[in-house]
Structures are given as structure tokens and as C-alpha cells.
């Protein structure tokens, strides 16, 4: 699948789960005003769509590719047979869900009581940890400024202004859309990061 392609849409019924063979995906909710709010990312090795499938409900979020992505699809019946017949499958899915719970609760705890500037600094560190850096030293994930704004809970203009501030302060370098973290310890300090 290509960048921008939708894997599943909020409100649709699931027919199976998706394992990411290669690539990066954003999971997002659409608000009343039509604005997307990214709630998490998924990358190579992750499984998506299993929550709706197991609960028998509709997707509560949408998923779209952030880059060219290869997915493996496991149909609903095959997955349910696997879960029933192999305790390790059920246990691994459970661990996956438990890990997601930890990530989601950490996100709101870390982001809730911070200013936009602090949240952006922390998010750059989270992205670095999740996706690593490419050969140019830039964050290895292609995000528009709008998507970054959605992640941090602020307007696109604010993200652009703050990134420009970060650049002036020597925290990052900007090369087109690419963001190159330069001074990690200062980003940690600005973001008041305790745990990611």
C-alpha cells in the first residue's frame, strides 16, 4: 500500500487483523469538526485492528499508511481458531493489548500537563525512540507539519513556529520536511521528560 492509503476506517466492521510486514502506519480518530487526531503509530512487526475484531465491534479509529507499507491480513475465522487452539497466540495478543494500555496511559500522563512547546519536544523524542533516525540523522518517519500538530494537539502554524524556535536554539535542524534532532539532552530538558 502507498503513503496515504487507508487500511481501515473508523465505524467499519473488522473482517480480520493486519500484521505490518514493513512500513509505518498512523492510527487516528476524526473529531466532530472533521479534524484528525492521531492517537498512535504502528510500525514493522506490530499488529493492528485486533481490538475491534475481538470485541466484535466497529473500528473506533482509522488507519492510514505513512509510507509504502506491506501488510499481512489474517481473516477473522482463522484468527479465532488460532486463539482457541493455541494459548500462546491468545497470550501474545493479550500482551500486545497490555503494552498498548501502558503506552496510551503514559502518553496522556506525559502530555496532559505540559505546554505545547514541552509536548513538541517530548514528541520528537518519542518519534526518535519509536522510529529511529535515517542515514541523514533525521527522524525516520514522514510526517507533515499538520500531522505533527495533530499529534501534539496544536495548530499547524504553532508547530512551524515552535520548530523554528527549536532550530534557533540548536535543538534540531530542519531540512525540508525532515527534522534532525541535534541536542537530545536539551530536548529532554525542554520537554521535561521523565519517562518515554
Amino acid at each position: 500500500m502507498k503513503r496515504g492509503e487507508i487500511i481501515f476506517n473508523e465505524g467499519n466492521l473488522p473482517h480480520g487483523i493486519y500484521c505490518i510486514r514493513k512500513g509505518k502506519i498512523k492510527i487516528f480518530k476524526t473529531g466532530n469538526e472533521g479534524r484528525d487526531q492521531i492517537v498512535k503509530f504502528a510500525k514493522t512487526g506490530d499488529v493492528i485492528g485486533y481490538r475491534a475484531l475481538l470485541s466484535g465491534e466497529k473500528y473506533s479509529s482509522s488507519a492510514a499508511c505513512l509510507e509504502e507499507t506491506q501488510l499481512c491480513f489474517i481473516p477473522k475465522n482463522s484468527l479465532l481458531s488460532l486463539v482457541a487452539g493455541h494459548s500462546c497466540v491468545a497470550m501474545n495478543l493479550m500482551r500486545f493489548a497490555c503494552h498498548e494500555l501502558g503506552t496510551s496511559s503514559r502518553l496522556i500522563t506525559n502530555m496532559a500537563q505540559k505546554s505545547t512547546r514541552e509536548r513538541l519536544a517530548e514528541m520528537l523524542l518519542v518519534l526518535k525512540q519509536n522510529f529511529g533516525i535515517d542515514n541523514d540523522g533525521a527522524l525516520d518517519v514522514k510526517l507533515t507539519r499538520e500531522e505533527l500538530g495533530s499529534l501534539v494537539g496544536t495548530a499547524t502554524e504553532s508547530v512551524i513556529r515552535l520548530l523554528s524556535d527549536f532550530k534557533e536554539e540548536g535543538l534540531v535542524e530542519l531540512n525540508g520536511k525532515k527534522i534532525i534532532p541535534k541536542n537530545i539532552s536539551s530536548l529532554i530538558k525542554v520537554g521535561k521528560v521523565i519517562d518515554i
Binding site: 473529531g31 475481538l54 491468545a90 497470550m91 500482551r95 493489548a97 496511559s105 500522563t109 502530555m111
Partner: protein, 224 residues
Amino acid sequence: MITREEKNLNGLCEAMKDVLNYSPSDLKDYFHKSVELRHYGPNDLLFDQGDDPCGIFSIYQGSVKLSRYSGKKNKQIVLLASKNEMMGISAIFNKHPLLYTAHAMEPTQVCYLPIDQANHLAQTNPLVLVPLMNKVNEAIEELERHTALVMSCDANTVVIKTLQNLQQKFGSDSHGFININLPARDLANYVCMSKTNLYRALNYLKEKMIITYETNRYKIFHFE
């Protein structure tokens, strides 16, 4: 003051109903022998963030606030749990310390299944994991929904939508107030605002005749 009772819990563990539906009768008997009913008073501690997992807590009656500490001072209320919700599952099956600190918000009764028995149930019948996983997934969904709301909406919208969600979850009393005893400082923390900003939003919504509020109580008149 926490008191523990051992008594016949048949018919009591509604919250565990889904789990029991997946279990054969001998496991159901095992479950009923293993589970105990715990009573907590307002502000009593159920468990602490960072502690080793001890068992599954399932609310039979009452409400519980789950907070997470970031550093020594920053406390964030991440979930407000009501009847039939379960806590402590994640730590058991992911084998990590407890993610939250849990306090009762009112007199609360909790069905408690110790860790060894929970593991035994899961190992004996893997399908038991499905409803337990669904409980974890419900918590993730609620967290994501709340985070998206807080991150993307203005203060007035965050407050009214949060109150709507709480009303949906906890119901209303005979006077139409949301059935949860929630001090303003806790609501402010939950919606990630200062108390001043919370009161500004509450007063705006009150002036518009959308809500009214008294000490620790909130009532929605009309909102679409």
C-alpha cells in the same frame, strides 16, 4: 478502613460474567472458591503504581479513580472506573509493575481474584483471555478517546463532552446529577486543566443553561 469478607459470591460477580461464560463448570467452581469480596471506603487505596501485580480487581459496586504519577509530583487521573470494570489485568499478563494507583471514590465493593488463580484460569482455558483482553481494550479505547478530546478541542467542549461521557458511564441519580462524586480538583486534573480554567468553562456552560453544578456534582440539561 478495609474489611474483607468470605461469603458465597454466587450471583455476585456480574463483572466476571463474561469470563465465566468461557469457562467449563469445574473452572467456574474454582473461580467462585477463589474470588473474594473486598470493601473499600472513600479514598481507600486499592493498589499503588509500581507495585508488583497481585490480582484482578473487578468493581461490583462504587467507583474508582486511576491515577498515574510522572515523577514525584505530577499526578494525572487517567481513568474513572465504574461498575463491572476490571483493573490489574495488564500487569499480570504483561508481567510488569502496576501501571496506576487506584483509590475508591466512594464506598466501593470489589471482586478480587488473586494472581495465581487468574493465571490458572487463563492457562486452563485460553479463551478466558478473550473477555479479559476486551476489558483491557475497553480501557485503551477510553484512554484514546479522552486523549483525543483533550488534545483537539477547546476547554468548553472538553468539559461538556467529558461530562457527557461520565453520564453515559456512571448514569444519573434521581435528581438528574451524574452519579459520581467528583471534586472539582479531580475533574480539572482529569480534563488536564487548571482549576481556574475548569471553573471558567463550567460557569460558561452554566450561563448557557447547558449544565448546572454543585459541590462535586454535575448535571447536564441539554447538549447536542
